[in-house]
């Protein structure tokens, strides 16, 4: 294979240039060079990398490299394990006493203390700082004072439910019982922040300082972020390589071509057009594993055209006009599975995944689809436009296919059109700016493997990632009750009832469960994807 030979030579050149390592032919796999740097595909994040302001995948990737929280989701199982937390104690699932481990510092030498967490959470919750993930602090007592609902005046700067007891201990008081609260603490919104973040915020934003195995060396928007291993990292998951250069690509086909040409070591988004060839191209340097990602179409409920009674029939009709199986088979070469609920199979049946919960609404029934849309008053304005970002995930291919499927079902060649937005960051800005006029792509990569995370952040009134501003009292009530429930099985039942509300009103159209995919160069070994589909960068070995 010519491509492979080529890749090896170029890879050697890169290695020599960057780390002055020897590049012999026979030093075998497995033994990595701890000093070598790898390059990986990436996209610009929407916002500066403040942990509580990052609710999208690309920024999340970096936060996961430069921060460690109280908990960390096991890269293999997704289980929430103690990281910086020595103990999280509670007797009533409402009052928590959290002890931080000794010996942790930020990469600038500052100690990680209880205050690092309390300050960070107060910052994230405060309305003044306008953080996208502020909603994650919503159950902490005093949230209504620091982040009042629409238009209210902020009357406090700090959450009254957070109290520092001593250097390593703080307490959290919630407004209601929330049995899985400790398991949510691995999410990046709950990361600790050094004083440098508050003392010189601009400098921090230019060059974020965290407590993870990597530190940010430089970032040029639109080009590259260089991360280097933090040598004094106190944790056990020390990076096995010298660092990672995250290179910005605006087209995953280009990234794949660069991988084949030896200019890139790792892609974590194999383009749909290459799925037919990838096994041939990369052999066992290709990975495709189930991940906690579901692809959906969300709707702008701030637009009256989609918020009228009866439009749920239109949405259900659209859902039934999409031939999911044909699209996942043809466009994605069976690397995705048609969705039949709003969660993900990685949760498992015990975790709340309910195969078939969507029922006939997720089956391809073109005749019924047409009838339902007519009953619901037809498509608003006679047509729909699906907005998506064109730089990742081969979204153009599947959005066009979804549109063609809808057009074929409705016998109208112009019923559905695709509206590409160049970059993910722009797309997110348009969404958070409420500029959507019709359905839009809403892929959801879970933050932690709980059914709650597939429902509450997306459909709860005013939740952080409820991009379409959907709101339903019954849904909110069921979620609140589920969170209070201390018996896991009961809680999951309640969440599934809430999911049925989502189904009955077709708040979003589920499309398919996505697998994570990755391809890498011959320099790399030990490449794995975690259950969130993000490469476990710190375990990758470079030779």
């Amino acid at each position: 294979m010519r491509g492979a030979m080529h890749a090896r030579w170029a890879a050697c050149a890169v290695a020599v240039a960057l780390a002055a390592t020897a590049c012999g032919g026979g030093n075998g796999g497995g033994s990595g060079d701890a000093g070598a740097v790898l390059s990986a595909s990436w996209g610009d994040p929407q916002n500066p990398l403040e942990p509580a302001n990052t609710n999208e995948v690309q920024g999340g990737k970096v936060l996961d490299m430069i921060f460690r929280g109280l908990k960390r989701y096991d890269p293999e199982t997704g289980e929430a394990k103690d990281m910086l937390a020595e103990r999280i104690e509670t007797s009533d699932s409402r009052n928590f006493r959290i002890t931080v481990k000794d010996g942790w510092t930020f990469s600038n030498g500052e100690k990680v203390t209880a205050r690092s967490f309390v300050d960070a959470w107060n910052y994230g919750a405060s309305l003044r700082n306008n953080q996208r993930n502020s909603y994650f602090f919503g159950y902490i007592e005093g949230y209504d004072k620091v982040h009042p609902e629409d238009g209210g005046k902020q009357t406090a700067d700090t959450l009254s439910g957070l109290k520092v007891v001593d250097e390593r201990t703080f307490t959290v008081k919630l407004t209601q019982t929330f049995s899985t609260f400790p398991d949510t603490l691995g999410y990046n919104a709950f990361a600790p922040l050094p004083r440098a973040f508050f003392d010189d915020h601009d400098a921090w934003v230019r060059k974020p300082v965290g407590n993870g195995p990597y530190r940010v060396e430089s970032y040029t928007r639109g080009s590259q972020m260089s991360l280097r291993t933090w040598e004094d990292y106190p944790g056990e998951d020390k990076a096995q390589n010298g660092g990672v250069d995250l290179k910005v690509y605006t087209d995953n086909n280009t990234a794949y071509t660069d991988l084949m040409a030896g200019n890139l070591d790792l892609v974590d988004d194999v383009p749909a057009a290459q799925l037919k060839n990838v096994k041939n191209d990369l052999g066992d340097r290709y990975l495709n594993t189930p991940a906690g990602i579901i692809q959906t179409l969300a709707f702008p409920y701030y637009d009256d055209a989609w918020n009228k009674p009866g439009t749920e029939k239109v949405r259900k009709g659209l859902s039934m006009a999409i031939d999911r199986k044909q699209i996942t088979d043809t466009i994605f070469q069976k690397t995705r599975t048609p969705a039949t609920d709003w969660t993900s199979p990685v949760l498992g049946e015990d975790g709340g995944f309910a195969e078939g919960l969507c029922g006939e609404a997720c089956e391809y029934r073109p005749d019924e689809a047409k009838k339902l849309i007519e009953e619901g008053g037809g498509l608003p304005g006679g047509r729909v436009t699906i907005t998506f970002n064109a730089d990742t995930g081969s979204h153009r291919e599947w959005v066009n296919a979804v549109c063609n499927s809808i057009n074929n079902a409705l016998d109208n060649e112009r019923a559905c059109t695709a509206n590409p937005v160049g970059t993910f960051a722009d797309f997110r800005n348009q969404i958070t700016g409420r500029k959507m006029g019709g359905p839009f792509r809403a892929g959801w990569q879970m933050d932690y493997p709980l059914i709650q995370n597939f429902l509450q952040p997306l459909y709860y009134t005013n939740a952080s990632s409820n991009d379409g501003k959907w709101s339903d009292k019954e849904f909110d009530r069921l979620v609140d009750r589920a969170n209070q429930e201390t018996d896991t099985a009961e809680a999951i039942k309640l969440f599934q009832q809430a999911e049925e509300v989502v189904r009955d009103r077709m708040a979003a159209i589920p499309l398919w469960y996505q697998n994570g995919s990755a391809g890498w160069s011959e320099r790399l070994s030990d490449v794995k994807l975690n259950p969130f589909s993000v490469p476990v960068y710190d375990q990758i070995k470079v030779s």
């Binding site: 086909n253 383009p271 749909a272 057009a273 290459q274 037919k276 060839n277 031939d323 044909q326 699209i327 043809t330 466009i331 064109a390 153009r396 291919e397 066009n400 296919a401 063609n404 499927s405 057009n407 074929n408 060649e413 112009r414 059109t417 695709a418 509206n419 590409p420 160049g422």
Partner: protein, 326 residues
Amino acid sequence: MPDQHHEPEHAVAGTGMGGTMDLGVDEAETLERRPTGPDGTGPQGRPRSLWSDAWRDLRRNPVFIVSGLVILFLVLISLWPSAIASGSPLACDLSKAQQGSSAGHPFGFDGQGCDVYTRTVYGARTSVAVGVLATLGVAVLGSVLGALAGYFGGIWDSVLSRITDVFFAIPVVLGGLVLLSVITSNTVWPVIGFIVLLGWPQLSRIARGAVITAKQNDYVQAARALGASHSRLMLRHIAPNAVAPVIVVATIALGTYIALEATLSYLGVGLKPPSVSWGIDISAASPYIRNAPHALLWPSGALAVTVLAFIMLGDAVRDALDPKLR
């Protein structure tokens, strides 16, 4: 000056009407004509004009005949695409994605299962429409502004020259990405408007230069001395002798405008689906080049042939109208 956009026609007509002028002026014009062949301005029976001379050259030029036939064919299928393609360019069946050619589908199917033949045929309409309309716009705007600047000179000339300098400094593709990305209308008009906006300075320079050359001729001075008005001088004496370079450059530019439309559509800022354009199809098919090269090659081939045909036509017209450049 809305009437001015008929200038090329006036120009051609003006050549014929020159003969009715005063003797002195006619003689001056005769002198000017000499390099392009036997002079005279009347219809049949009289000596040939620049235009009939050029037409005689063109008819004997195989390059003109071939490119002319290709362009005629393109114009016909843009007007009546359904005559040779029965399906709809928007009818796609995903189950046939990436299949090769089969009965009734000679070019096979693209990644979405759309018929490549039908889409290639319908794509000609966009290309021809953009090419022709943008060229008309550029020629009218550019030659009017250029001619006025060249004729009146002075401050008008300086201002216009600086404005053209500004437009020349704008990189075409970058300008397209910036300007067209904010436009949501999905028709050919924004693309045409953009091409006219960036294309007119080239034509205005040509027209300005040609007018400056023509106005220094003795017969123009003579006509002026006899009290001819500005409009008479411009339309009767200068324009007919300045229009040839404009036509030549505009014809060659037409091909490049078609390529520019495809480029902009390829980049996602020109036309967008469901509009049908070769640029869109080339862009959509390029990731599949390894598995379905036919979906990329047919629209690319059609684009290449079309652009080549217009550029060759422009070359032939230039040879005929301006033998000095041959």
